[in-house]
Amino acid sequence: MPKVMRVVGKVVGKVTIRDIGKDVYYNDVVDIQEADVLRSNDIIHAFKERWIDVIFGKELLDNHPRYSTPMNMNLGSRDGVNFNGDPTPEKLPAQPQFDVAGLISGLHASIREIIKSEMANNQSTTIINQTTASDPAAPTAVDHEQLATLIAGQLAGKLQVPAGNSDKAPAIDKESQNVFINLDDNTDLKSNMGDSGLGNVVESSDGKANDAIKRLSQLKKKDKSNE
Protein backbone atom coordinates (compact mmCIF):
# COMPACT_ATOMS: atom_id res chain seq x y z
CA MET A 1 0.00 0.00 0.00
CA PRO A 2 1.52 3.35 -0.93
CA LYS A 3 2.28 5.81 1.83
CA VAL A 4 1.33 8.85 -0.21
CA MET A 5 -1.19 9.71 -2.88
CA ARG A 6 -0.10 12.23 -5.48
CA VAL A 7 -2.84 14.43 -6.96
CA VAL A 8 -3.00 17.25 -9.52
CA GLY A 9 -5.44 20.17 -9.58
CA LYS A 10 -7.86 20.03 -12.52
CA VAL A 11 -9.91 23.17 -12.18
CA VAL A 12 -8.82 26.75 -12.69
CA GLY A 13 -8.33 28.36 -9.29
CA LYS A 14 -7.71 26.55 -6.05
CA VAL A 15 -9.43 23.58 -4.49
CA THR A 16 -9.26 23.47 -0.70
CA ILE A 17 -9.74 20.02 0.82
CA ARG A 18 -10.99 21.40 4.04
CA ASP A 19 -11.00 18.44 6.38
CA ILE A 20 -7.28 17.85 5.90
CA GLY A 21 -6.30 21.46 5.21
CA LYS A 22 -4.80 20.88 1.77
CA ASP A 23 -4.86 23.35 -1.13
CA VAL A 24 -4.50 22.06 -4.67
CA TYR A 25 -3.97 24.67 -7.36
CA TYR A 26 -4.69 24.23 -11.06
CA ASN A 27 -2.09 21.96 -12.69
CA ASP A 28 -0.17 21.80 -9.40
CA VAL A 29 0.98 18.48 -7.94
CA VAL A 30 0.43 17.78 -4.24
CA ASP A 31 1.33 14.76 -2.12
CA ILE A 32 -1.13 13.64 0.49
CA GLN A 33 -0.13 11.21 3.22
CA GLU A 34 -1.95 7.91 3.53
CA ALA A 35 -3.48 8.78 6.91
CA ASP A 36 -4.90 12.03 5.54
CA VAL A 37 -6.37 10.32 2.47
CA LEU A 38 -8.06 7.66 4.55
CA ARG A 39 -9.61 10.10 7.02
CA SER A 40 -10.79 12.65 4.47
CA ASN A 41 -14.30 12.66 2.99
CA ASP A 42 -13.68 15.85 1.07
CA ILE A 43 -10.95 14.29 -1.00
CA ILE A 44 -13.40 11.66 -2.20
CA HIS A 45 -15.79 14.39 -3.24
CA ALA A 46 -13.04 16.36 -4.99
CA PHE A 47 -11.96 13.28 -6.90
CA LYS A 48 -15.46 12.30 -7.90
CA GLU A 49 -16.20 15.84 -9.05
CA ARG A 50 -12.96 15.71 -11.02
CA TRP A 51 -11.58 18.80 -9.36
CA ILE A 52 -8.43 16.77 -8.70
CA ASP A 53 -6.92 13.80 -10.46
CA VAL A 54 -4.80 11.05 -8.95
CA ILE A 55 -1.39 10.55 -10.48
CA PHE A 56 -0.38 7.62 -8.28
CA GLY A 57 -1.48 6.03 -5.06
CA LYS A 58 -5.04 5.43 -6.26
CA GLU A 59 -5.03 2.24 -4.17
CA LEU A 60 -5.48 4.44 -1.12
CA LEU A 61 -8.79 5.64 -2.51
CA ASP A 62 -9.83 2.10 -3.38
CA ASN A 63 -9.32 1.17 0.25
CA HIS A 64 -11.06 4.25 1.54
CA PRO A 65 -14.10 3.33 3.65
CA ARG A 66 -16.29 5.91 1.85
CA TYR A 67 -15.18 5.43 -1.74
CA SER A 68 -17.60 3.35 -3.78
CA THR A 69 -16.51 1.46 -6.87
CA PRO A 70 -16.88 3.71 -9.87
CA MET A 71 -19.57 2.79 -12.37
CA ASN A 72 -18.46 1.20 -15.57
CA MET A 73 -18.90 3.69 -18.34
CA ASN A 74 -19.18 3.16 -22.04
CA LEU A 75 -15.78 4.13 -23.40
CA GLY A 76 -17.51 5.64 -26.38
CA SER A 77 -19.23 8.16 -24.15
CA ARG A 78 -16.14 8.74 -22.05
CA ASP A 79 -13.91 9.43 -25.02
CA GLY A 80 -14.19 12.92 -26.29
CA VAL A 81 -16.02 14.16 -23.21
CA ASN A 82 -14.38 16.14 -20.48
CA PHE A 83 -15.19 19.22 -18.48
CA ASN A 84 -15.72 21.32 -21.60
CA GLY A 85 -17.19 18.55 -23.77
CA ASP A 86 -14.07 18.59 -25.92
CA PRO A 87 -11.55 15.84 -26.59
CA THR A 88 -9.60 15.20 -23.40
CA PRO A 89 -6.58 17.47 -23.74
CA GLU A 90 -4.25 15.75 -21.33
CA LYS A 91 -3.91 12.23 -22.68
CA LEU A 92 -0.21 11.39 -22.83
CA PRO A 93 1.55 8.74 -24.91
CA ALA A 94 2.34 5.53 -23.01
CA GLN A 95 4.85 6.28 -20.27
CA PRO A 96 7.29 3.74 -18.87
CA GLN A 97 5.66 2.47 -15.70
CA PHE A 98 7.68 2.00 -12.54
CA ASP A 99 6.59 0.86 -9.14
CA VAL A 100 6.91 4.03 -7.10
CA ALA A 101 5.25 2.54 -4.04
CA GLY A 102 7.68 -0.35 -4.07
CA LEU A 103 10.56 2.05 -4.53
CA ILE A 104 9.55 4.12 -1.51
CA SER A 105 9.03 1.04 0.64
CA GLY A 106 12.44 -0.31 -0.38
CA LEU A 107 13.98 3.09 0.28
CA HIS A 108 12.38 3.17 3.70
CA ALA A 109 13.79 -0.22 4.63
CA SER A 110 17.28 0.76 3.43
CA ILE A 111 17.26 4.02 5.35
CA ARG A 112 16.17 2.21 8.52
CA GLU A 113 19.09 -0.18 8.22
CA ILE A 114 21.51 2.68 7.58
CA ILE A 115 20.31 4.56 10.65
CA LYS A 116 20.56 1.44 12.86
CA SER A 117 24.03 0.74 11.53
CA GLU A 118 25.20 4.30 12.13
CA MET A 119 23.78 4.32 15.68
CA ALA A 120 25.56 1.02 16.45
CA ASN A 121 28.87 2.44 15.15
CA ASN A 122 28.51 5.50 17.33
CA GLN A 123 28.08 3.59 20.59
CA SER A 124 31.79 3.80 21.34
CA THR A 125 31.56 7.57 21.27
CA THR A 126 31.15 9.33 24.58
CA ILE A 127 27.57 10.45 24.93
CA ILE A 128 27.33 13.92 26.32
CA ASN A 129 24.52 14.78 28.71
CA GLN A 130 23.44 11.19 29.06
CA THR A 131 20.55 10.84 31.47
CA THR A 132 18.39 7.96 32.66
CA ALA A 133 15.01 7.15 31.14
CA SER A 134 13.24 8.17 34.33
CA ASP A 135 14.74 11.63 34.24
CA PRO A 136 12.04 14.06 33.07
CA ALA A 137 14.69 16.17 31.43
CA ALA A 138 15.89 13.20 29.41
CA PRO A 139 15.99 13.98 25.69
CA THR A 140 13.51 12.04 23.59
CA ALA A 141 15.12 8.89 22.12
CA VAL A 142 15.48 8.91 18.37
CA ASP A 143 12.65 6.99 16.71
CA HIS A 144 14.40 5.20 13.86
CA GLU A 145 11.12 4.32 12.22
CA GLN A 146 9.89 7.88 12.21
CA LEU A 147 13.20 9.19 10.97
CA ALA A 148 13.28 6.64 8.16
CA THR A 149 9.72 7.56 7.17
CA LEU A 150 10.57 11.23 7.14
CA ILE A 151 13.66 10.81 4.98
CA ALA A 152 11.94 8.38 2.60
CA GLY A 153 9.01 10.77 2.27
CA GLN A 154 11.25 13.71 1.46
CA LEU A 155 13.19 11.70 -1.09
CA ALA A 156 9.94 10.47 -2.65
CA GLY A 157 8.88 14.07 -3.09
CA LYS A 158 11.83 14.61 -5.39
CA LEU A 159 11.02 11.63 -7.60
CA GLN A 160 9.75 12.54 -11.11
CA VAL A 161 6.52 10.70 -11.80
CA PRO A 162 4.81 10.91 -15.18
CA ALA A 163 1.44 12.65 -15.03
CA GLY A 164 -1.60 10.89 -16.37
CA ASN A 165 -5.33 10.63 -16.07
CA SER A 166 -7.22 8.10 -14.08
CA ASP A 167 -8.86 5.69 -16.48
CA LYS A 168 -11.83 5.07 -14.28
CA ALA A 169 -14.74 7.44 -14.36
CA PRO A 170 -15.73 8.55 -10.85
CA ALA A 171 -19.27 8.13 -9.65
CA ILE A 172 -21.08 11.35 -8.82
CA ASP A 173 -21.32 11.99 -5.09
CA LYS A 174 -22.58 15.31 -3.87
CA GLU A 175 -22.79 14.37 -0.22
CA SER A 176 -19.79 16.33 0.89
CA GLN A 177 -19.81 19.92 -0.25
CA ASN A 178 -16.92 20.98 1.92
CA VAL A 179 -14.40 21.19 -0.89
CA PHE A 180 -14.08 24.88 -1.28
CA ILE A 181 -12.99 26.50 -4.49
CA ASN A 182 -11.15 29.70 -3.80
CA LEU A 183 -9.90 32.35 -6.16
CA ASP A 184 -7.19 34.87 -5.67
CA ASP A 185 -9.17 38.09 -5.44
CA ASN A 186 -6.16 40.31 -5.13
CA THR A 187 -5.02 40.18 -8.73
CA ASP A 188 -7.82 41.59 -10.87
CA LEU A 189 -7.02 42.36 -14.50
CA LYS A 190 -6.63 45.98 -15.55
CA SER A 191 -8.95 47.52 -18.11
CA ASN A 192 -10.16 50.79 -19.56
CA MET A 193 -13.77 50.01 -18.74
CA GLY A 194 -14.11 52.43 -15.82
CA ASP A 195 -17.31 52.64 -13.81
CA SER A 196 -19.60 53.76 -16.58
CA GLY A 197 -21.00 50.31 -17.17
CA LEU A 198 -20.38 47.90 -19.96
CA GLY A 199 -22.65 46.86 -22.74
CA ASN A 200 -25.75 48.21 -24.44
CA VAL A 201 -28.67 49.42 -22.39
CA VAL A 202 -32.18 48.54 -23.48
CA GLU A 203 -35.25 49.80 -21.71
CA SER A 204 -38.62 48.23 -22.20
CA SER A 205 -41.99 48.74 -20.73
CA ASP A 206 -43.27 45.47 -19.39
CA GLY A 207 -46.93 45.63 -18.47
CA LYS A 208 -46.82 42.10 -17.10
CA ALA A 209 -43.93 42.75 -14.74
CA ASN A 210 -45.79 43.91 -11.65
CA ASP A 211 -48.39 41.19 -12.06
CA ALA A 212 -45.70 38.53 -12.41
CA ILE A 213 -43.87 39.81 -9.35
CA LYS A 214 -47.03 39.93 -7.27
CA ARG A 215 -48.01 36.38 -8.26
CA LEU A 216 -44.52 35.11 -7.52
CA SER A 217 -44.62 36.68 -4.05
CA GLN A 218 -47.97 35.07 -3.37
CA LEU A 219 -46.69 31.69 -4.52
CA LYS A 220 -43.67 31.98 -2.27
CA LYS A 221 -45.80 32.98 0.71
CA LYS A 222 -48.05 30.00 0.03
CA ASP A 223 -45.07 27.65 -0.19
CA LYS A 224 -43.72 28.97 3.09
CA SER A 225 -47.04 28.56 4.89
CA ASN A 226 -47.31 24.95 3.63
CA GLU A 227 -43.93 24.06 5.07
Binding site: V12, N84, G85, N192, N200, L216
Partner: protein
Protein backbone atom coordinates in the same frame (compact mmCIF):
# COMPACT_ATOMS: atom_id res chain seq x y z
CA UNK B 1 -39.77 53.50 -4.80
CA UNK B 2 -39.54 50.05 -3.24
CA UNK B 3 -42.02 49.61 -0.43
CA UNK B 4 -39.63 47.68 1.76
CA UNK B 5 -37.45 50.61 2.53
CA UNK B 6 -38.15 54.24 3.26
CA UNK B 7 -35.02 55.17 1.39
CA UNK B 8 -35.38 56.80 -2.01
CA UNK B 9 -33.65 54.47 -4.41
CA UNK B 10 -33.41 55.13 -8.14
CA UNK B 11 -34.77 51.66 -8.84
CA UNK B 12 -36.47 48.75 -7.10
CA UNK B 13 -34.50 46.53 -4.78
CA UNK B 14 -33.56 43.30 -6.45
CA UNK B 15 -31.54 42.59 -9.58
CA UNK B 16 -31.43 39.73 -12.04
CA UNK B 17 -28.62 38.54 -14.25
CA UNK B 18 -28.60 36.00 -17.05
CA UNK B 19 -25.06 34.70 -17.46
CA UNK B 20 -24.90 32.97 -20.80
CA UNK B 21 -22.29 31.64 -23.16
CA UNK B 22 -23.01 34.37 -25.66
CA UNK B 23 -24.42 37.26 -23.65
CA UNK B 24 -24.49 38.49 -20.10
CA UNK B 25 -27.69 40.43 -19.43
CA UNK B 26 -28.54 42.22 -16.20
CA UNK B 27 -32.06 43.47 -15.45
CA UNK B 28 -33.28 46.16 -13.05
CA UNK B 29 -36.62 47.88 -12.65
CA UNK B 30 -37.86 51.43 -12.26
CA UNK B 31 -41.66 51.59 -11.86
CA UNK B 32 -42.81 49.39 -14.74
CA UNK B 33 -39.74 49.98 -16.89
CA UNK B 34 -37.30 47.10 -17.08
CA UNK B 35 -33.76 48.20 -17.85
CA UNK B 36 -31.52 45.57 -19.42
CA UNK B 37 -27.78 45.94 -19.71
CA UNK B 38 -26.52 43.47 -22.29
CA UNK B 39 -22.92 42.57 -22.97
CA UNK B 40 -21.64 40.01 -25.45
CA UNK B 41 -19.65 37.41 -23.57
CA UNK B 42 -16.70 37.13 -25.93
CA UNK B 43 -13.25 38.56 -26.34
CA UNK B 44 -10.61 38.91 -29.01
CA UNK B 45 -6.93 39.37 -28.28
CA UNK B 46 -4.62 41.86 -29.95
CA UNK B 47 -1.04 42.67 -29.09
CA UNK B 48 -0.64 45.27 -26.40
CA UNK B 49 1.19 48.18 -27.97
CA UNK B 50 0.71 51.92 -28.02
CA UNK B 51 -0.85 51.90 -31.48
CA UNK B 52 -3.44 49.27 -30.50
CA UNK B 53 -4.33 51.08 -27.29
CA UNK B 54 -4.77 54.42 -29.05
CA UNK B 55 -6.86 52.87 -31.80
CA UNK B 56 -9.16 51.15 -29.34
CA UNK B 57 -9.45 54.25 -27.19
CA UNK B 58 -10.39 56.41 -30.19
CA UNK B 59 -13.10 53.93 -31.15
CA UNK B 60 -14.44 53.87 -27.61
CA UNK B 61 -13.74 50.13 -27.46
CA UNK B 62 -13.55 48.44 -24.08
CA UNK B 63 -10.59 46.21 -23.44
CA UNK B 64 -8.98 44.24 -20.65
CA UNK B 65 -5.20 43.88 -20.27
CA UNK B 66 -3.89 40.34 -19.88
CA UNK B 67 -2.09 39.41 -16.70
CA UNK B 68 1.31 39.35 -18.39
CA UNK B 69 0.39 42.66 -20.13
CA UNK B 70 1.31 41.27 -23.54
CA UNK B 71 -2.23 41.23 -24.89
CA UNK B 72 -5.32 43.39 -24.93
CA UNK B 73 -8.62 41.58 -24.83
CA UNK B 74 -11.29 43.44 -26.76
CA UNK B 75 -14.56 42.71 -25.06
CA UNK B 76 -18.10 42.52 -26.32
CA UNK B 77 -19.63 43.09 -29.73
CA UNK B 78 -16.41 44.67 -30.92
CA UNK B 79 -14.72 41.33 -30.31
CA UNK B 80 -16.99 39.71 -32.89
CA UNK B 81 -16.33 42.58 -35.30
CA UNK B 82 -12.58 42.18 -34.91
CA UNK B 83 -12.88 38.43 -35.39
CA UNK B 84 -14.74 38.92 -38.64
CA UNK B 85 -12.27 41.53 -39.90
CA UNK B 86 -9.27 39.35 -39.10
CA UNK B 87 -11.09 36.17 -40.16
CA UNK B 88 -10.50 34.49 -36.83
CA UNK B 89 -12.73 33.10 -34.08
CA UNK B 90 -13.62 34.93 -30.89
CA UNK B 91 -12.66 33.42 -27.56
CA UNK B 92 -15.19 32.77 -24.84
CA UNK B 93 -14.81 32.84 -21.06
CA UNK B 94 -17.84 30.57 -20.93
CA UNK B 95 -18.10 27.56 -23.13
CA UNK B 96 -21.06 25.27 -23.62
CA UNK B 97 -22.89 27.03 -20.82
CA UNK B 98 -20.24 26.73 -18.13
CA UNK B 99 -16.91 28.33 -17.23
CA UNK B 100 -14.23 27.29 -19.65
CA UNK B 101 -11.03 25.83 -18.23
CA UNK B 102 -9.41 26.22 -21.64
CA UNK B 103 -9.18 29.95 -20.98
CA UNK B 104 -6.82 30.48 -18.03
CA UNK B 105 -7.93 34.07 -17.57
CA UNK B 106 -11.58 33.17 -18.05
CA UNK B 107 -12.42 33.56 -14.39
CA UNK B 108 -10.94 37.00 -14.00
CA UNK B 109 -12.51 38.14 -17.24
CA UNK B 110 -15.97 36.95 -16.28
CA UNK B 111 -15.57 38.65 -12.93
CA UNK B 112 -14.71 41.97 -14.58
CA UNK B 113 -17.55 41.77 -17.06
CA UNK B 114 -20.02 40.75 -14.36
CA UNK B 115 -19.00 43.60 -12.08
CA UNK B 116 -19.36 46.09 -14.84
CA UNK B 117 -22.73 44.81 -16.03
CA UNK B 118 -24.19 44.52 -12.51
CA UNK B 119 -22.94 47.79 -11.07
CA UNK B 120 -23.04 48.51 -7.36
CA UNK B 121 -25.76 47.11 -5.06
CA UNK B 122 -28.29 49.62 -3.70
CA UNK B 123 -27.33 48.42 -0.28
CA UNK B 124 -25.08 45.60 0.98
CA UNK B 125 -26.76 42.24 0.60
CA UNK B 126 -29.16 43.29 -2.13
CA UNK B 127 -30.58 40.12 -3.64
CA UNK B 128 -29.18 39.19 -7.01
CA UNK B 129 -30.69 36.18 -8.74
CA UNK B 130 -28.34 34.73 -11.34
CA UNK B 131 -29.18 32.10 -13.93
CA UNK B 132 -27.53 28.70 -13.89
CA UNK B 133 -27.98 25.71 -16.17
CA UNK B 134 -29.30 22.34 -15.09
CA UNK B 135 -26.89 19.39 -15.38
CA UNK B 136 -26.87 18.18 -18.98
CA UNK B 137 -28.23 14.77 -19.86
CA UNK B 138 -25.74 14.25 -22.67
CA UNK B 139 -22.38 15.53 -21.41
CA UNK B 140 -20.15 15.55 -18.39
CA UNK B 141 -19.99 19.13 -17.14
CA UNK B 142 -19.32 20.40 -13.69
CA UNK B 143 -22.22 22.82 -13.27
CA UNK B 144 -21.79 22.82 -9.49
CA UNK B 145 -18.32 24.32 -9.88
CA UNK B 146 -19.70 26.87 -12.34
CA UNK B 147 -22.47 27.86 -9.94
CA UNK B 148 -20.11 28.14 -6.97
CA UNK B 149 -17.66 30.34 -8.82
CA UNK B 150 -20.35 32.71 -10.08
CA UNK B 151 -21.90 32.90 -6.63
CA UNK B 152 -18.57 33.83 -5.10
CA UNK B 153 -18.05 36.56 -7.71
CA UNK B 154 -21.48 38.13 -7.29
CA UNK B 155 -21.16 38.07 -3.51
CA UNK B 156 -17.76 39.70 -3.71
CA UNK B 157 -19.51 42.71 -5.30
CA UNK B 158 -21.71 43.10 -2.21
CA UNK B 159 -24.84 41.28 -3.36
CA UNK B 160 -26.59 38.32 -1.83
CA UNK B 161 -26.32 35.87 -4.71
CA UNK B 162 -28.96 33.23 -5.30
CA UNK B 163 -28.91 30.87 -8.27
CA UNK B 164 -32.01 30.16 -10.28
CA UNK B 165 -32.41 27.63 -13.05
CA UNK B 166 -32.33 29.39 -16.42
CA UNK B 167 -35.47 27.77 -17.86
CA UNK B 168 -37.34 28.30 -14.61
CA UNK B 169 -36.51 32.02 -14.78
CA UNK B 170 -37.92 32.05 -18.31
CA UNK B 171 -41.10 30.46 -16.96
CA UNK B 172 -41.38 33.12 -14.25
CA UNK B 173 -41.20 35.85 -16.89
CA UNK B 174 -43.57 34.30 -19.43
CA UNK B 175 -46.03 32.01 -17.63
CA UNK B 176 -47.52 34.32 -14.97
CA UNK B 177 -50.96 34.25 -16.63
CA UNK B 178 -50.81 30.46 -16.56
CA UNK B 179 -50.01 30.61 -12.85
CA UNK B 180 -46.44 29.57 -13.63
CA UNK B 181 -47.54 26.23 -15.00
CA UNK B 182 -46.16 24.98 -18.28
CA UNK B 183 -42.99 24.01 -20.08
CA UNK B 184 -40.28 26.58 -20.67
CA UNK B 185 -37.28 26.03 -22.89
CA UNK B 186 -34.36 28.44 -23.04
CA UNK B 187 -32.25 28.05 -26.16
CA UNK B 188 -28.95 29.70 -25.28
CA UNK B 189 -25.69 29.63 -27.17
CA UNK B 190 -24.09 26.79 -25.27
CA UNK B 191 -27.01 24.78 -23.92
CA UNK B 192 -30.74 24.32 -24.09
CA UNK B 193 -32.37 24.34 -20.67
CA UNK B 194 -35.82 22.93 -20.00
CA UNK B 195 -38.11 23.30 -17.01
CA UNK B 196 -41.50 21.72 -16.50
CA UNK B 197 -43.28 23.90 -13.96
CA UNK B 198 -46.38 23.33 -11.89
CA UNK B 199 -47.52 26.41 -9.95
CA UNK B 200 -43.98 27.70 -10.01
CA UNK B 201 -42.42 24.49 -8.69
CA UNK B 202 -40.12 22.63 -11.02
CA UNK B 203 -41.17 19.05 -11.72
CA UNK B 204 -38.42 18.23 -14.21
CA UNK B 205 -35.35 20.29 -15.10
CA UNK B 206 -32.48 19.34 -17.34
CA UNK B 207 -30.31 20.66 -20.14
CA UNK B 208 -28.71 19.42 -23.34
CA UNK B 209 -25.21 20.41 -24.31
CA UNK B 210 -25.83 21.58 -27.84
CA UNK B 211 -27.48 24.77 -28.95
CA UNK B 212 -26.61 27.89 -30.91
CA UNK B 213 -22.86 27.37 -30.95
CA UNK B 214 -23.33 23.79 -32.08
CA UNK B 215 -25.42 25.06 -34.98
CA UNK B 216 -22.80 27.66 -35.93
CA UNK B 217 -19.88 25.25 -35.74
CA UNK B 218 -21.52 22.42 -37.61
CA UNK B 219 -23.05 24.54 -40.32
CA UNK B 220 -19.67 26.28 -40.74
CA UNK B 221 -17.91 22.91 -41.09
CA UNK B 222 -20.50 21.74 -43.58
CA UNK B 223 -19.79 24.56 -46.01
CA UNK B 224 -16.18 25.37 -45.16
CA UNK B 225 -16.91 28.63 -43.42
CA UNK B 226 -15.97 30.13 -40.06
CA UNK B 227 -18.32 29.81 -37.11
CA UNK B 228 -18.18 33.56 -36.42
CA UNK B 229 -19.37 34.20 -39.97
CA UNK B 230 -22.31 31.81 -39.49
CA UNK B 231 -23.18 33.58 -36.23
CA UNK B 232 -23.28 36.89 -38.09
CA UNK B 233 -25.52 35.43 -40.85
CA UNK B 234 -27.82 33.93 -38.24
CA UNK B 235 -28.07 37.15 -36.26
CA UNK B 236 -28.83 39.17 -39.38
CA UNK B 237 -32.12 37.27 -39.51
CA UNK B 238 -33.18 34.03 -41.21
CA UNK B 239 -36.46 32.19 -41.78
CA UNK B 240 -36.25 28.51 -40.95
CA UNK B 241 -38.94 27.73 -43.51
CA UNK B 242 -37.40 29.79 -46.29
CA UNK B 243 -33.57 29.95 -46.46
CA UNK B 244 -32.20 32.29 -49.11
CA UNK B 245 -28.63 31.10 -49.73
CA UNK B 246 -26.25 28.27 -48.92
CA UNK B 247 -25.25 29.80 -45.58
CA UNK B 248 -28.86 29.94 -44.50
CA UNK B 249 -29.59 26.48 -45.85
CA UNK B 250 -26.78 25.03 -43.78
CA UNK B 251 -28.04 26.85 -40.69
CA UNK B 252 -31.59 25.61 -41.25
CA UNK B 253 -30.45 21.98 -41.52
CA UNK B 254 -28.73 22.14 -38.16
CA UNK B 255 -31.50 24.14 -36.56
CA UNK B 256 -33.97 21.41 -37.42
CA UNK B 257 -31.54 18.80 -36.18
CA UNK B 258 -31.14 20.64 -32.87
CA UNK B 259 -34.87 21.06 -32.32
CA UNK B 260 -35.50 17.40 -33.10
CA UNK B 261 -32.71 16.38 -30.70
CA UNK B 262 -34.05 18.55 -27.87
CA UNK B 263 -37.58 17.25 -28.28
CA UNK B 264 -36.42 13.63 -28.30
CA UNK B 265 -34.25 14.15 -25.21
CA UNK B 266 -37.23 15.65 -23.48
CA UNK B 267 -39.41 12.72 -24.45
CA UNK B 268 -36.76 10.35 -23.15
CA UNK B 269 -36.48 12.25 -19.88
CA UNK B 270 -40.23 12.20 -19.33
CA UNK B 271 -40.69 8.59 -20.43
CA UNK B 272 -40.01 7.29 -16.91
CA UNK B 273 -42.99 9.27 -15.63
CA UNK B 274 -41.11 10.06 -12.42
CA UNK B 275 -42.11 13.36 -10.88
CA UNK B 276 -44.52 14.36 -13.65
CA UNK B 277 -47.53 16.10 -12.13
CA UNK B 278 -51.08 15.48 -13.26
CA UNK B 279 -51.84 18.64 -15.19
CA UNK B 280 -55.57 19.33 -14.95
CA UNK B 281 -55.49 21.25 -18.24
CA UNK B 282 -53.36 21.36 -21.39
CA UNK B 283 -50.21 23.35 -20.79
CA UNK B 284 -48.41 26.17 -22.57
CA UNK B 285 -44.94 25.70 -23.99
CA UNK B 286 -42.82 28.86 -24.11
CA UNK B 287 -39.58 29.18 -26.07
CA UNK B 288 -36.91 31.78 -25.36
CA UNK B 289 -33.22 32.52 -25.67
CA UNK B 290 -31.20 34.01 -28.48
CA UNK B 291 -31.13 30.78 -30.48
CA UNK B 292 -34.93 30.85 -30.77
CA UNK B 293 -34.90 34.20 -32.62
CA UNK B 294 -35.07 32.98 -36.25
CA UNK B 295 -38.42 33.37 -37.91
CA UNK B 296 -40.65 30.27 -37.80
CA UNK B 297 -38.68 28.75 -34.92
CA UNK B 298 -41.93 28.09 -33.05
CA UNK B 299 -43.50 26.50 -36.13
CA UNK B 300 -40.59 24.09 -36.60
CA UNK B 301 -40.59 23.31 -32.87
CA UNK B 302 -44.29 22.52 -32.96
CA UNK B 303 -43.77 20.23 -35.95
CA UNK B 304 -41.13 18.25 -34.06
CA UNK B 305 -43.20 18.17 -30.89
CA UNK B 306 -46.08 16.58 -32.74
CA UNK B 307 -43.84 13.66 -33.70
CA UNK B 308 -43.29 12.56 -30.08
CA UNK B 309 -45.48 11.42 -27.23
CA UNK B 310 -45.70 13.57 -24.11
CA UNK B 311 -47.40 12.58 -20.82
CA UNK B 312 -49.51 15.73 -20.92
CA UNK B 313 -51.56 17.74 -23.43
CA UNK B 314 -50.21 20.89 -24.98
CA UNK B 315 -52.44 23.90 -25.45
CA UNK B 316 -50.05 26.11 -27.41
CA UNK B 317 -46.42 26.67 -28.34
CA UNK B 318 -45.45 30.31 -28.12
CA UNK B 319 -42.34 32.42 -28.29
CA UNK B 320 -41.38 34.50 -25.27
CA UNK B 321 -42.48 38.12 -25.60
CA UNK B 322 -38.82 39.09 -25.21
CA UNK B 323 -36.77 36.10 -26.28
CA UNK B 324 -33.37 37.67 -25.69
CA UNK B 325 -34.03 39.07 -22.25
CA UNK B 326 -36.80 36.92 -20.78
CA UNK B 327 -34.39 34.91 -18.61
CA UNK B 328 -32.87 38.09 -17.16
CA UNK B 329 -36.37 39.43 -16.52
CA UNK B 330 -37.41 36.23 -14.80
CA UNK B 331 -34.35 36.47 -12.55
CA UNK B 332 -35.27 40.09 -11.82
CA UNK B 333 -38.91 39.32 -10.98
CA UNK B 334 -37.81 36.52 -8.68
CA UNK B 335 -35.36 38.86 -6.90
CA UNK B 336 -37.90 41.68 -6.49
CA UNK B 337 -40.57 39.25 -5.27
CA UNK B 338 -38.28 38.31 -2.36
CA UNK B 339 -38.68 41.87 -1.10
CA UNK B 340 -42.39 42.13 -1.72
CA UNK B 341 -42.79 38.90 0.22
CA UNK B 342 -41.42 40.56 3.32
CA UNK B 343 -44.08 43.27 3.44
Amino acid sequence: MNKKSDKQYPRKMGIGIDIGTSFINSATMVDEQVKIRSQRDAFFDVENDKFARNMLKQNGTSYIISEDEKLLYVVGQEALNFANVFKKEVRRPLRAGVISTREPEALKMIKMILKNVLGEPLEPGEICKFSVPAPPVDADYNVVYHENVLKSFVESFGFKAEPINEARALGYAELSEQNFTGLSLSFGAGMVNASLLFHGSPAVEFSVSRSGDWIDENSANAIGERAAKMTAVKEAGIDLLSPKNRHEEALVIFYKSLISYVVKQFERKLSTGDGIPEFPQPITVVLGGGTSLPKSFDVVFKQELEKVKMPFSIKEVKLASDQMFAVAKGCLYSAISEYDEEE
